[in-house]
Amino acid sequence: MTYGILSFGAYVPHLRLARSAILDAVGWAVPGVRGLAAGERAVANWDEDSITLAVEAARDCLAGVDGPVGQVSLASTTLPFADRSNSGVVADALDLDHEVLTEDLAGSRRAATSALARAARGHGHDTTLLVAADTRETRPGSSQEMLYGHGAAALLIGEGKPVAEFLAAASVHEDMVDQYRATDTDFDYALEERWVREEGYLKIVPDVVEQAAAGAGIQVGDIDHVVLHGSTGVARALAKPLGIDPKRFADPLTANCGDTGVPHPLLMLASVLDNAGPDQYVLVIGFGQGADAIILRTTPALALVRAGRGAGRALAQRRPLANYTQFLSLRNQISIDFGLRSERDNRTALSAYYRKRRDITAMRGGRCRECNTLQFPRALVCVKCGAAESQTPESLAALTGRVKSFTEDWLAYTPSPPYIYGNVEFPDGANVMLEFTDFGAGQIKVGDPVRLVFRVKDYDTKRHFRRYFWKPAPLPVDGD
């Protein structure tokens, strides 16, 4: 048994906004963003937030993994709840045991890399799911609107057959305020990029990398892959002082995703692991008010774990979002008049939720021990054979469903019309009426297979609450 990264996963929301569409909309005011207007950025749908993104990345990471998860560490600066265990919601959605230790890591773009550095330095007894997700909102016309994207990544860390082993880690803290976001504000405030590069990256990063390399007992020049988030200019500038071939710097996913924030180093790492061979050195750098450097060495087990998952697969799932106004509305930055129906009160009876929390958050139905019929919701009496108290809880979340009937409803309120919902059949008799997501008008027919994804069901704008449930979504297409 060796300690290291046992598995990895990634999730990038499917909506992609062409940066040219941003330029078309805001270029009249800020022609300077023209230089950034190439490629596309990932955009979370209206029903996605950092919790739901984290759940998808974690599902990708945990698919096919045996053995219990002992800890869930959720890293993000855009967690939907300031006081409610966000990682607890993620753990429930993954249907993990309630004895799992959950922690929310926040307050820094390094929240994930610092946790990774901590894991590299020593470890506890538990297998840890380190998952990072961010949905940073951006002011219209800002550079961040062009540069940022939404996304998530996850690593499973513990004893087993790792795909990568930890060799060393180093961290420093320097209160260089290159950018910040106050707790009660929506947007990042960023300082001049050249100052950040010259005083920040070029002066802070090399020392940390040297320390980590020394700890690993290797030369910096031996490193095969460098994961460094930030502009490509930063990578170019750092290659020389670090003595690493610029070609060894990993793709920052600028062209097809954008900088996702806290998860970005993990997302880039997942992308590297997608393509790396065994026995390669990988350097992961986290930057922001200091820096983290973690050095890993890949193992032959990598070839076994990466089929059908990872960043390549995540990035291959895309739906073009052509309309900039729709982008602003989906991210709740403009208020479209959706009519009186949108005034509906979405209060949650939290005591009812507490009674049914696992049924809802893990989509646990029941399987009848008498007749083997699966059903949702779980009930005291079997819907098929009438046996009483005969049902064993069982999650439907991983099942592939089949569309039995559906509609595209233009009357009901949804932030992304039409409101699509229908009856979905699952194996062993189950049928559930569900709201669909990530489908547009004309994209579903009866009989189509669907997978379930964990999403925001609705927002209670009066009480600043949101509730989550599972929705049928398109099956993934094959990635790279």
Partner: protein, 399 residues
Amino acid sequence: MATGIKDKVAIIGMGCTQFGERWDCGPEELIVEAFTEALGDAGIERSAIEMAWLGLFFQEQSAGKSALPLSMALRLPNIPVTRVENMCATGTEALRGAVYAVAAGACDVALALGVEKLKDTGYAGLPERTKGSFDDLWLPNATAPGAFAQLASAYQARHKCDPKDLKRAMAHISVKSHANGALNPKAHLRRTITEDQAINAPMIAAPLGLYDCCGVSDGAACAIVTSVEKAREMGYKDFVTVKAMQLAPSNGLEMSNNAWDGSYLLTTRIAAERAYKEAGIKDPRKELDMTEVHDCFSVTELVVMEDLGLCEPGGAIKAVLDGEFDRDGAVPCQIDGGLKCFGHPIGASGLRMAYEMYLQLLGRAGERQLASPSLGLTHNLGGHPFRNVASVSVLGLHS
């Protein structure tokens, strides 16, 4: 051994308001309007009424809960009044309460009144509402058109029919109901439409367009009932009796299990079978002279024709297009315009259907009178295809 309700109870008076957007009326005015007509029709003193049932669905925004809206609007002399609610079957449920009371001998004369004031929401369609503290956690916030549109989607998949044929049959249903409604002075929608208009109307919930949806209306309807013996005693000669009243609610099977394929209305089939048995009907296609079914949406009426046994399974499109349910067809359906055009004030609808049967059976339906009908069926479907309550009643002339 129970013998059922057949020919035990007579309807001796009925009333129904003008349905529509009654901006100038609240529930109180609607209640009084329907009751006044029924009382005059029965020709009795209001003091003869001993018990009453009130049907009202959306209490939140119209009249409020309990017996009080009826008792207070009519200033009833503190007689027992029970409010019932069973979604769109509410009006029929009020009637069932009154019918059972006189059949049981608990009183001689009972009143059933259904009312709904829908047009105080400020928007089109039915009001938004919570589905309950648990269901709100997971069920889609489906609208009625969206829920019934799925009937079309599953029917089409089940019978592998051309969507264009289905849409055309749905359009035929709406064109027919508009034509019928045009002859009914109390109907909400009184303009005729063409098949092209129906097919090309704006989409509400695919594949249901505007003209596939029934009117959302204000209105009230009521019935005064007594036992057959008492009716004779009171001097009534020709009167309408209840032949059957059956109700079948879902138990969750359609919603939770794949035994149901979404293409038909399970509870309607069950309620119909029981009602035919109670009424002694062997062949509904031959014996029934007319039906008033729950045509909340055109596709509902289409599917219900099969579920009531009025055409073969999978044969509704052809039967509809052949005109079998038109006013001059084999079994006319919605001769008063139906929910589609008479309108659908939910709590009143079941009683409105009975009102049309009553008028037709007694030969008092004016311009839209059918040639000497003697037996008719009413059908309500409360809720959505995957979870509902279905009621089927049979009314006929007392022989």
